[in-house]
């Protein structure tokens, strides 16, 4: 499945690239894009993935790279 999340206060383009690279390395993620321009994150993962658990990891990664940036989890 493909999920899109809004990002708030993503102020640095290089951080977006770092987040993207780190999220891509998660085993359950097939592909990830963090767009600095649209302030959005797109994650592709298998349909049976536990999304909540995955997003907890993703949030942790993002906090590590850019503590000010917040992911809007719908």
């Amino acid at each position: 499945m493909k999920k899109v999340f809004k990002l708030i206060d993503l102020d640095c383009a290089n951080c977006a690239a770092k987040m993207e690279n780190a999220i891509k390395e998660l085993p359950e993620v097939d592909d990830a894009v963090v767009s600095f321009m649209t302030q959005k994150m797109t994650i592709k993962t298998a349909d049976d993935t536990d999304l909540d658990a995955l997003m907890a990891k993703v949030v942790k990664i993002c906090k590590k790279v850019e503590p000010d940036c917040e992911i809007v989890l719908k």
Binding site: A16, N21, V33, M37, T42
Partner: protein, 623 residues
């Protein structure tokens, strides 16, 4: 400016004034008092960077740009370059502010390009108009669109007439007139009359939300250049930081030389270690190009398609609906013994009970109501045509087989298209040629594509060889393959794929209805969106909202221009950074130049990237 940006601006001004004061104070060079004087502006402008550096280093982010800036400036303080340390921090913040303002502005500009989102829908409640959220309107509800308002949802006009401006969706500036029974799509602006519209699609399925979703998602399909930059960014910072370390350690160890000098040179490296200019400007250029194209009615689903479009070498067109209008029209009326009007009248009467598209085209050409009392019998002979008795005359209208059957000799015709022969009491009366009209812009579209370096233009059609040949000649195409079934089209496209050069790409253009397999087989599939056909928008990589084949040339122009800007930025940013790194290593650059190579280059690259969204039409036409 946002609150955050205003805050920074105040700090920049304060720190700037204090920095000038510190420089003017008559203090002894390298004295602790002078350090204190410079530490005041340094603290004002840099405290957040220092704080973020500490916080991020706790998170294990060694190559964080705040950390590297902090190390560089503290290092400068340590080697007693006090003014430089404060000034570098100040310029860094000025650059960052510029950058954030420029990015914010371009985001807003691109959003404005796509400003087709309706804010409300009017519904009638107890005879009064009320504003409602378009998302809450259901299918079948009647909405009222006042003059000057944006049509919020797709629907059919049930009452009223007006002209609507479709330019936000199609780039077409000529308004379209609509009346009762016409369908209208969301995002268009109603110009002069009040319309009552029955909603046919809910908001999330409407044209507006489809387009917005498509363009916003385009950022997730990255071009090769973007992927290159992301990968490059991953290695660039560590590489520069390691070089800085080596520069600080090895030369003084080997030459037993001046530690302070080499550390100072190494600090310059740290200032240039962020690949920001590239990481921001390359996606911004692609996003700008896609945004600008959407303003012209060209929807592009990702930056990667811009790259492929720019190298288009073979363009394959489907005929019906793509190069032609896809509607049958009477092209020629060739009477034999009777008047032209009389022939058309006979044909219209004979075909008046038929529901065939050919019958429709004849009756629309005739344009008058038929008086059915004049028709005393009407018989459809399947596969042949119609035999009718009109005003006591036996009229036959149909193909040559019907004429054969009736024993009527026909007069052959050299025109291409579908022939309807007409006989009157066994006498040949003439024929009507019905053909699909070629779009007005098809011919110039082919010409413009060739001027842009497209090597082969090919047409695929299910039509007869003679019709294909005629269209090919008229349009100036290189090749035409006729009498193809949908499956044959895939084969032909696969064969053509083998003919292109390794760098070139094959573009398929179709109306999107029966071409889904071909659209996905080609390097880029372009669909004629026919104002919101879902199948077309779904299957293609690029959608032309107004079905105009000339837009393909414009899409190529936009692609080439966007890529040119992307490469300019890559070469410029990397070039400046490497030159400053080199000068820094040789001791010919100072930290000021390094700050320019970092944030100054970013700002210039962003300004250059913003050009991508301004689309000039016909800018590079050679004819």
């Amino acid at each position: 400016m946002s609150k955050k940006q205003k805050n920074i601006l105040i700090r920049i001004i304060a720190a700037g004034i204090l920095l000038v004061i510190a420089a003017l104070l008559p203090l002894e060079d390298k004295s602790p008092l002078r350090l204190a004087a410079f530490l005041v502006p340094y603290g004002i402008i840099g405290w957040d960077i220092l704080w973020k550096a500490i916080r991020n280093i706790k998170n294990g982010q060694v190559f964080d740009e705040n950390f590297l800036m902090a190390v560089a400036t503290i290092g400068a303080l340590a080697v007693k370059e006090y003014p430089e340390a404060s000034a570098v921090m100040l310029f860094y913040q000025i650059g960052e502010l510029f950058q954030s303002v420029a990015v914010g502005k371009s985001r807003k500009n691109i959003a404005a390009l796509m400003d087709i989102r309706p804010d409300h829908a009017n519904i009638e409640v107890d005879g009064k108009l009320e504003e409602a959220d378009p998302e809450e309107i259901e299918q079948g509800q009647i909405i009222v669109v006042k003059p000057g308002e944006r049509i919020p949802l797709d629907g059919v006009v049930t009452d009223g007439a007006s002209t609507i401006d479709t330019s936000a969706l199609t780039g077409e500036s000529v308004p379209r007139t609509v009346k009762e029974g016409d369908s209208v799509i969301s995002g268009c602006i109603n110009q002069n009359g009040t319309l009552k519209v029955e909603v046919t699609k809910e908001y999330e399925d409407s044209t507006v939300s489809k387009i917005l979703e498509l363009v916003e998602n385009s950022a997730s399909k990255k071009a090769k250049a973007e992927n290159f930059i992301t990968k490059f960014a991953k290695y660039y910072t560590p590489a520069v930081v390691i070089s800085a370390l080596l520069l600080a350690l090895i030369p003084p160890l080997v030459t037993d030389g001046n530690w302070a000098m080499w550390i100072h040179r190494a600090l310059i490296f740290l200032v240039i270690s962020c690949p920001c200019a590239l990481v921001i400007s390359v996606p911004l250029s692609f996003f700008g190009g896609i945004g600008g194209a959407s303003k012209k009615g060209i929807l592009i689903k990702g930056g990667n398609f811009l790259e492929v479009m720019a190298n288009a070498e073979i363009i394959v067109f489907d005929k019906t609906g793509t190069l032609t209008k896809g509607v049958f029209e009477v092209n020629e009326i060739h009477p034999h013994v009777i008047e032209e009007d009389k022939l058309l009248e006979l044909a219209a009467y004979a075909e008046s009970y038929s529901d065939h598209p050919i019958a429709h085209s004849i009756s629309s050409k005739y344009g008058k109501e038929t008086d059915r009392s004049r028709i005393s019998s009407n018989e459809e002979i399947s596969g042949h045509g119609i035999k009718a008795v009109i005003d006591e005359h036996e009229i036959c209208a149909g193909n040559s087989k019907l004429m054969d059957k009736m024993g009527v000799d026909i007069v052959p015709c050299d025109k291409t298209g579908t022939m309807v022969h007409i006989s009157d009491n066994g006498q040949y009366a003439g024929h009507i040629v019905i053909a699909d009209r070629i779009k007005e812009t098809s011919q110039s579209a082919i010409k413009r594509l060739k001027a842009r370096g497209v090597k082969q233009t090919v047409m695929l059609t299910g039509d007869s060889a003679s019709a294909a040949e005629a269209a090919m000649k008229e349009l100036g195409l290189d090749k035409a393959y006729s009498e193809l079934l949908p499956a044959d089209k895939v084969d032909k496209v696969e064969k053509l794929m083998e003919e292109k050069s390794p760098k070139g790409s094959l573009v398929f253009v179709g109306d999107g209805i029966n071409d889904a397999p071909v659209l996905s087989r080609a390097d880029v599939g372009i669909a004629m969106g026919s104002l919101g056909s879902d199948a077309a928008i779904e299957a293609a990589d690029i959608v032309l909202m107004d079905d105009d084949p000339e837009k393909i040339a414009l899409a190529m122009d936009i692609s080439k221009r966007t890529l040119r800007i992307v490469y300019q930025n890559i070469i410029f940013a990397l070039g400046v950074k490497f030159i400053v790194l080199l000068l820094g290593a040789l001791g010919l650059a100072n930290m000021w130049l390094a700050v320019f190579a970092d944030v100054g280059v970013s700002v210039i690259a962003i300004l250059n990237a913003m050009r991508a969204m301004k689309i000039k039409e016909n800018s590079s036409d050679q004819n």
